[in-house]
Protein backbone atom coordinates (compact mmCIF):
# COMPACT_ATOMS: atom_id res chain seq x y z
CA UNK A 1 0.00 0.00 0.00
CA UNK A 2 1.11 3.56 -0.68
CA UNK A 3 1.47 4.70 2.91
CA UNK A 4 3.37 1.65 4.10
CA UNK A 5 5.73 1.82 1.11
CA UNK A 6 6.56 5.50 1.68
CA UNK A 7 7.10 4.91 5.39
CA UNK A 8 9.42 2.00 4.70
CA UNK A 9 11.22 3.93 1.98
CA UNK A 10 11.90 6.89 4.27
CA UNK A 11 13.13 4.65 7.09
CA UNK A 12 15.44 2.67 4.81
CA UNK A 13 16.78 5.89 3.33
CA UNK A 14 17.70 7.32 6.71
CA UNK A 15 19.33 4.06 7.86
CA UNK A 16 21.18 3.78 4.54
CA UNK A 17 22.59 7.31 4.87
CA UNK A 18 23.81 6.65 8.39
CA UNK A 19 25.34 3.24 7.67
CA UNK A 20 26.99 4.40 4.43
CA UNK A 21 28.76 7.20 6.28
CA UNK A 22 29.88 4.73 8.96
CA UNK A 23 31.28 2.23 6.44
CA UNK A 24 32.99 4.91 4.33
CA UNK A 25 34.10 6.98 7.32
CA UNK A 26 32.49 9.94 5.63
CA UNK A 27 30.81 10.71 2.32
CA UNK A 28 27.10 10.81 1.69
CA UNK A 29 24.39 9.01 -0.17
CA UNK A 30 20.77 9.40 -1.20
CA UNK A 31 17.85 7.28 -2.35
CA UNK A 32 15.58 9.01 -4.86
CA UNK A 33 12.23 7.86 -6.20
CA UNK A 34 12.14 8.00 -9.98
CA UNK A 35 8.38 8.61 -9.87
CA UNK A 36 7.56 10.10 -6.47
CA UNK A 37 3.94 10.70 -7.49
CA UNK A 38 3.48 6.95 -8.05
CA UNK A 39 4.88 4.93 -5.13
CA UNK A 40 3.46 1.67 -6.44
CA UNK A 41 5.26 1.91 -9.80
CA UNK A 42 8.29 4.00 -8.94
CA UNK A 43 11.88 2.90 -9.26
CA UNK A 44 14.58 3.81 -6.77
CA UNK A 45 17.79 5.59 -7.78
CA UNK A 46 20.90 5.33 -5.63
CA UNK A 47 23.28 8.29 -5.47
CA UNK A 48 26.56 7.45 -3.72
CA UNK A 49 29.35 9.91 -2.97
CA UNK A 50 32.44 8.47 -1.24
CA UNK A 51 34.32 10.96 0.98
CA UNK A 52 36.19 13.63 -0.96
CA UNK A 53 34.66 12.65 -4.28
CA UNK A 54 31.73 13.93 -6.34
CA UNK A 55 28.59 11.88 -6.84
CA UNK A 56 28.76 9.91 -10.07
CA UNK A 57 27.20 6.89 -11.79
CA UNK A 58 27.24 3.88 -9.50
CA UNK A 59 28.87 2.03 -12.39
CA UNK A 60 32.01 4.18 -12.08
CA UNK A 61 32.52 3.21 -8.44
CA UNK A 62 35.32 0.77 -7.69
CA UNK A 63 34.71 -2.89 -6.83
CA UNK A 64 35.27 -2.24 -3.15
CA UNK A 65 33.17 0.94 -3.12
CA UNK A 66 30.25 -0.92 -4.71
CA UNK A 67 30.54 -3.76 -2.20
CA UNK A 68 30.50 -1.30 0.69
CA UNK A 69 27.55 0.65 -0.76
CA UNK A 70 25.53 -2.55 -1.26
CA UNK A 71 26.41 -3.60 2.30
CA UNK A 72 25.13 -0.29 3.68
CA UNK A 73 21.85 -0.80 1.81
CA UNK A 74 21.47 -4.39 2.96
CA UNK A 75 22.07 -3.43 6.58
CA UNK A 76 19.60 -0.57 6.19
CA UNK A 77 16.91 -3.11 5.30
CA UNK A 78 17.96 -5.23 8.27
CA UNK A 79 17.64 -2.18 10.51
CA UNK A 80 14.13 -1.36 9.34
CA UNK A 81 12.96 -4.95 9.00
CA UNK A 82 15.08 -7.23 11.19
CA UNK A 83 15.59 -10.84 10.13
CA UNK A 84 16.27 -13.55 12.72
CA UNK A 85 19.19 -14.74 10.68
CA UNK A 86 21.74 -13.33 8.19
CA UNK A 87 24.08 -15.35 5.98
CA UNK A 88 26.72 -13.57 3.85
CA UNK A 89 28.88 -15.50 1.39
CA UNK A 90 32.33 -13.91 0.83
CA UNK A 91 31.05 -10.31 0.72
CA UNK A 92 34.39 -9.16 2.18
CA UNK A 93 36.36 -10.43 -0.83
CA UNK A 94 36.83 -7.05 -2.63
CA UNK A 95 37.51 -4.98 0.51
CA UNK A 96 40.90 -3.58 1.52
CA UNK A 97 42.19 -3.80 5.10
CA UNK A 98 40.72 -0.54 6.35
CA UNK A 99 37.29 -1.23 4.85
CA UNK A 100 37.25 -4.79 6.19
CA UNK A 101 37.77 -3.32 9.67
CA UNK A 102 34.80 -0.95 9.36
CA UNK A 103 32.70 -3.73 7.80
CA UNK A 104 33.50 -6.02 10.74
CA UNK A 105 32.65 -3.36 13.30
CA UNK A 106 29.18 -3.19 11.75
CA UNK A 107 28.89 -6.98 11.49
CA UNK A 108 29.79 -7.36 15.18
CA UNK A 109 27.15 -4.83 16.12
CA UNK A 110 24.42 -6.49 14.03
CA UNK A 111 25.38 -9.95 15.28
CA UNK A 112 24.29 -8.89 18.78
CA UNK A 113 20.74 -8.52 17.41
CA UNK A 114 20.40 -11.74 15.40
CA UNK A 115 22.17 -14.91 14.26
CA UNK A 116 24.89 -13.93 11.85
CA UNK A 117 26.95 -16.21 9.64
CA UNK A 118 29.70 -15.17 7.25
CA UNK A 119 31.54 -17.38 4.77
CA UNK A 120 35.02 -16.00 4.37
CA UNK A 121 38.67 -16.53 3.38
CA UNK A 122 39.69 -13.30 5.14
CA UNK A 123 41.81 -13.77 8.30
CA UNK A 124 40.52 -10.53 9.87
CA UNK A 125 36.92 -11.70 9.48
CA UNK A 126 37.81 -15.06 10.97
CA UNK A 127 39.39 -13.36 13.96
CA UNK A 128 36.28 -11.26 14.51
CA UNK A 129 34.07 -14.35 14.94
CA UNK A 130 33.85 -16.24 18.25
CA UNK A 131 32.54 -19.37 16.52
CA UNK A 132 33.92 -21.13 13.46
CA UNK A 133 32.63 -23.89 11.26
CA UNK A 134 35.52 -25.44 9.36
CA UNK A 135 34.48 -27.20 6.14
CA UNK A 136 36.95 -29.75 4.83
CA UNK A 137 37.14 -32.63 2.36
CA UNK A 138 38.85 -35.50 4.15
CA UNK A 139 37.29 -37.86 1.59
CA UNK A 140 37.80 -36.31 -1.85
CA UNK A 141 34.56 -34.83 -3.12
CA UNK A 142 32.76 -35.25 0.23
CA UNK A 143 32.35 -32.37 2.71
CA UNK A 144 32.92 -32.78 6.41
CA UNK A 145 32.31 -30.24 9.18
CA UNK A 146 34.30 -29.37 12.28
CA UNK A 147 33.05 -26.72 14.65
CA UNK A 148 35.17 -24.58 16.96
CA UNK A 149 34.65 -22.18 19.79
CA UNK A 150 37.55 -19.79 19.45
CA UNK A 151 39.04 -19.06 22.92
CA UNK A 152 38.37 -15.49 24.06
CA UNK A 153 42.10 -14.71 24.20
CA UNK A 154 42.55 -15.46 20.53
CA UNK A 155 39.85 -12.99 19.51
CA UNK A 156 42.30 -10.35 20.69
CA UNK A 157 44.67 -11.89 18.19
CA UNK A 158 47.13 -13.60 20.51
CA UNK A 159 46.69 -17.10 19.18
CA UNK A 160 44.84 -18.92 16.44
CA UNK A 161 44.27 -22.05 18.54
CA UNK A 162 40.67 -23.09 18.63
CA UNK A 163 38.73 -25.41 20.91
CA UNK A 164 36.91 -28.14 19.03
CA UNK A 165 33.35 -28.29 20.39
Amino acid sequence: TRGVFMETFEAVKIAFQTLFTQLFNGGKTDLILTRPEDPLETGIDIIAQPPGKRAQNLSLLSGGERALTATALLFAFLTVRPSPFVLLDEVDAPLDGANVERFLRMVREFSTRCQFMVITHNPATMEAAPYWYGIAMKDPGVSSVLSYRVPASSIEGTTEEAVVM
Binding site: F85, M117, M126
Partner: protein
Protein backbone atom coordinates in the same frame (compact mmCIF):
# COMPACT_ATOMS: atom_id res chain seq x y z
CA UNK B 1 12.34 -17.02 15.93
CA UNK B 2 15.77 -18.62 15.77
CA UNK B 3 17.41 -21.17 13.54
CA UNK B 4 18.59 -24.15 15.58
CA UNK B 5 20.17 -26.60 13.17
CA UNK B 6 20.53 -27.67 9.55
CA UNK B 7 20.94 -31.38 8.72
CA UNK B 8 22.03 -32.43 5.25
CA UNK B 9 22.21 -35.92 3.83
CA UNK B 10 23.08 -36.52 0.17
CA UNK B 11 22.86 -32.78 -0.58
CA UNK B 12 25.59 -31.83 -3.08
CA UNK B 13 28.98 -32.56 -1.45
CA UNK B 14 27.35 -33.41 1.91
CA UNK B 15 27.05 -37.07 1.02
CA UNK B 16 27.15 -38.21 4.64
CA UNK B 17 24.60 -36.98 7.16
CA UNK B 18 26.02 -33.71 8.49
CA UNK B 19 24.68 -31.29 11.07
CA UNK B 20 25.30 -27.56 11.46
CA UNK B 21 24.10 -25.80 14.62
CA UNK B 22 23.18 -22.13 14.55
CA UNK B 23 24.47 -20.26 17.59
CA UNK B 24 23.77 -16.71 18.73
CA UNK B 25 26.07 -14.00 17.53
CA UNK B 26 28.69 -14.27 14.81
CA UNK B 27 29.87 -17.52 13.20
CA UNK B 28 32.51 -17.70 10.45
CA UNK B 29 32.31 -20.57 7.94
CA UNK B 30 35.81 -21.27 6.63
CA UNK B 31 37.62 -23.79 4.46
CA UNK B 32 39.41 -24.33 1.14
CA UNK B 33 37.99 -23.56 -2.31
CA UNK B 34 35.43 -26.18 -3.31
CA UNK B 35 35.09 -27.67 0.19
CA UNK B 36 31.31 -27.06 0.37
CA UNK B 37 30.77 -23.71 2.13
CA UNK B 38 28.45 -22.20 -0.51
CA UNK B 39 26.70 -25.57 -0.77
CA UNK B 40 25.48 -24.92 2.79
CA UNK B 41 23.86 -21.71 1.55
CA UNK B 42 22.23 -23.71 -1.25
CA UNK B 43 20.95 -26.27 1.29
CA UNK B 44 19.30 -23.54 3.37
CA UNK B 45 17.68 -21.87 0.35
CA UNK B 46 16.52 -25.28 -0.92
CA UNK B 47 14.89 -26.42 2.31
CA UNK B 48 13.13 -23.03 2.51
CA UNK B 49 11.57 -23.82 -0.88
CA UNK B 50 13.79 -22.52 -3.70
CA UNK B 51 12.35 -24.01 -6.92
CA UNK B 52 14.63 -22.56 -9.57
CA UNK B 53 17.66 -24.87 -10.05
CA UNK B 54 19.63 -21.93 -11.46
CA UNK B 55 19.40 -20.17 -8.08
CA UNK B 56 21.27 -23.20 -6.71
CA UNK B 57 23.82 -23.16 -9.57
CA UNK B 58 22.27 -26.25 -11.22
CA UNK B 59 20.36 -27.09 -14.41
CA UNK B 60 17.90 -29.67 -13.10
CA UNK B 61 16.19 -30.24 -9.77
CA UNK B 62 18.19 -33.45 -9.27
CA UNK B 63 21.50 -31.59 -9.53
CA UNK B 64 21.40 -31.22 -5.74
CA UNK B 65 21.66 -34.97 -5.16
CA UNK B 66 25.22 -36.14 -4.40
CA UNK B 67 26.56 -37.13 -7.82
CA UNK B 68 29.40 -39.29 -6.55
CA UNK B 69 33.13 -38.72 -6.34
CA UNK B 70 36.20 -40.56 -7.60
CA UNK B 71 35.76 -43.03 -4.74
CA UNK B 72 32.01 -42.99 -4.11
CA UNK B 73 28.93 -43.81 -6.08
CA UNK B 74 26.14 -41.27 -6.62
CA UNK B 75 23.29 -41.36 -4.13
CA UNK B 76 19.60 -41.81 -4.93
CA UNK B 77 18.19 -39.13 -2.66
CA UNK B 78 18.97 -35.77 -1.12
CA UNK B 79 17.44 -34.63 2.17
CA UNK B 80 17.75 -31.40 4.13
CA UNK B 81 16.11 -30.81 7.51
CA UNK B 82 15.90 -27.39 9.16
CA UNK B 83 14.95 -27.06 12.84
CA UNK B 84 13.70 -23.70 14.11
CA UNK B 85 12.86 -22.38 17.57
CA UNK B 86 9.42 -20.78 17.30
CA UNK B 87 8.88 -20.03 20.98
CA UNK B 88 8.11 -16.38 20.18
CA UNK B 89 5.40 -17.41 17.70
CA UNK B 90 6.89 -15.58 14.71
CA UNK B 91 5.96 -18.46 12.44
CA UNK B 92 2.16 -18.72 12.09
CA UNK B 93 2.00 -22.33 13.32
CA UNK B 94 1.13 -23.85 16.70
CA UNK B 95 4.54 -25.38 17.51
CA UNK B 96 7.40 -24.03 19.61
CA UNK B 97 9.80 -26.13 17.57
CA UNK B 98 9.35 -26.35 13.81
CA UNK B 99 11.12 -28.93 11.67
CA UNK B 100 11.03 -28.54 7.87
CA UNK B 101 12.17 -31.49 5.77
CA UNK B 102 12.65 -31.56 2.01
CA UNK B 103 13.65 -34.60 -0.04
CA UNK B 104 14.22 -35.24 -3.71
CA UNK B 105 14.81 -38.56 -5.49
CA UNK B 106 16.59 -39.31 -8.80
CA UNK B 107 13.15 -39.70 -10.37
CA UNK B 108 12.44 -36.08 -9.52
CA UNK B 109 9.86 -37.04 -6.90
CA UNK B 110 9.90 -34.53 -4.06
CA UNK B 111 8.60 -34.66 -0.49
CA UNK B 112 7.99 -31.86 1.97
CA UNK B 113 7.38 -32.46 5.66
CA UNK B 114 6.35 -30.05 8.41
CA UNK B 115 7.09 -31.51 11.83
CA UNK B 116 7.07 -34.94 10.23
CA UNK B 117 3.75 -34.56 8.45
CA UNK B 118 3.61 -34.50 4.66
CA UNK B 119 2.72 -31.08 3.30
CA UNK B 120 2.96 -29.02 0.13
CA UNK B 121 5.69 -26.59 -0.87
CA UNK B 122 3.34 -23.67 -0.44
CA UNK B 123 2.68 -24.63 3.17
CA UNK B 124 6.38 -24.08 3.78
CA UNK B 125 6.78 -20.83 1.82
CA UNK B 126 3.64 -19.47 3.48
CA UNK B 127 5.26 -19.88 6.89
CA UNK B 128 8.10 -17.53 6.02
CA UNK B 129 6.06 -14.95 4.15
CA UNK B 130 6.56 -12.07 6.59
CA UNK B 131 9.82 -12.97 8.29
CA UNK B 132 12.43 -11.36 6.01
CA UNK B 133 13.49 -14.89 5.05
CA UNK B 134 11.02 -15.31 2.23
CA UNK B 135 11.55 -15.21 -1.52
CA UNK B 136 13.48 -12.15 -2.65
CA UNK B 137 14.56 -11.42 0.89
CA UNK B 138 17.77 -9.77 1.84
CA UNK B 139 18.91 -11.99 4.67
CA UNK B 140 20.89 -14.47 2.54
CA UNK B 141 23.49 -13.01 0.17
CA UNK B 142 25.19 -15.57 -2.09
CA UNK B 143 28.72 -15.43 -3.48
CA UNK B 144 28.94 -12.64 -6.11
CA UNK B 145 25.34 -11.56 -5.39
CA UNK B 146 26.05 -8.41 -3.37
CA UNK B 147 26.69 -6.34 -6.47
CA UNK B 148 23.33 -7.12 -8.06
CA UNK B 149 21.53 -4.91 -5.53
CA UNK B 150 23.33 -2.02 -7.24
CA UNK B 151 23.25 -3.26 -10.82
CA UNK B 152 19.48 -3.85 -10.71
CA UNK B 153 17.29 -1.42 -12.65
CA UNK B 154 15.65 1.24 -10.46
CA UNK B 155 12.29 -0.48 -11.02
CA UNK B 156 13.64 -3.87 -9.94
CA UNK B 157 14.93 -2.44 -6.68
CA UNK B 158 11.44 -1.78 -5.42
CA UNK B 159 11.07 -5.55 -4.87
CA UNK B 160 13.46 -5.32 -1.92
CA UNK B 161 11.50 -2.37 -0.52
CA UNK B 162 8.24 -4.23 -0.92
CA UNK B 163 9.70 -7.22 0.90
CA UNK B 164 10.67 -4.92 3.78
CA UNK B 165 7.35 -3.06 3.76
Amino acid sequence: MQLKKLQMSGFKTFADRTEIEFGDGLTAIVGPNGSGKSNIVDALLWVLGEQNPRMLRGDTAQDVIFAGSQKRKPLGMSEVKLTLDNADGTLPIQFTEVVITRRIYRSGDTQYLLNGAACRLKDITALFMDTGMGRGAYSVVGQNEMDSVLSAKPEDRRELFEEAA
